[in-house]
């Protein structure tokens, strides 16, 4: 496998999946072509102003920023449905339409969904 698509479709913080997926994507960088796709409730991960200090757990928006070279795409219809379109999103994240999102999934050698 030379490229991998990590699909996140669950909200961050409510479960460990977003954190686990970002870690898996991060350790794959440099070894394979990595795309992280935020879909459905995964789109919430793109919210820019996260501050998880009071929960004493890692800030997931900061993890996205720390790996600026990681290609992260967000499914635009998911963003719109969730009222996120007018919210500030993490700068490193790219909004793509459904066609481009599905093409990115099809264009990767393997799909990993946690």
């Amino acid at each position: 496998m030379r490229s991998v698509f990590y699909l996140l479709d669950t909200a961050p913080y409510g479960s460990e999946k977003a954190f686990g997926l970002l870690n898996a994507a991060a350790v794959s960088l440099g070894k394979m072509e990595v795309t992280v796709g935020l879909y459905g409730d995964g789109a919430y991960l793109a919210l820019g102003d996260q501050d998880s200090r009071a929960l004493a757990i890692p800030n997931l928006a900061d993890i996205l920023r720390a790996y600026g070279e990681m290609k992260v795409i967000v499914h635009e219809p998911s963003v719109v449905e969730r009222g996120l379109f007018s919210e500030g999103l993490v700068e490193t994240v790219e909004l793509v339409d459904e066609e481009a999102f599905l093409e990115a999934m099809e264009g990767s050698d393997c799909l990993i969904t946690l």
């Binding site: 496998m1 686990g20 350790v27 794959s28």
Partner: protein, 122 residues
């Protein structure tokens, strides 16, 4: 020999994915190298001493897979968080022989070297 990698994230019993993984791995081991990476709650799967009253012992199923040649590795962060501690060689008192606790960095290596990757999770 071609290689299949299976990634799991659920613990035993709560979902059917450990069972499905076992069937896929059994079928694959006849012709292929099989890797299984245990991530998040899946690090609970190989625990020794499971005594389910109504189901097959899923820890035992994975011990069998390891004996049959599957390379089974558990994420060290997830394992430590859940109370599974590794010896220096990655073995654990809680796990059957052959199943090791290893770094997440092994995951991309497994994927890279694979001809097929199957992720099973809720």
């Amino acid at each position: 020999m071609k290689t299949l990698t299976i990634i799991l994230t659920d613990g035993p019993y709560i979902s059917e994915y450990a069972q499905i993984a076992k069937k896929i791995a059994e079928a694959a081991l006849k012709r292929y190298q099989v890797n299984i990476f245990l991530y998040l709650d899946a690090v609970h799967i190989p625990r020794k001493g499971q005594k389910p009253a109504f189901f097959a012992d899923e820890g035992g199923l994975f011990a069998d897979l390891a004996r049959e040649g599957a390379v089974i590795r558990a994420c060290s962060r997830c394992a430590a968080a859940r109370g599974y501690l590794a010896e220096e060689d990655g073995s654990s008192q809680d796990y059957p022989d052959g199943i090791k606790i290893t770094s997440l960095y092994d995951l991309p290596v497994m994927i890279q070297g694979s001809d097929g990757v199957i992720t099973l999770c809720r």
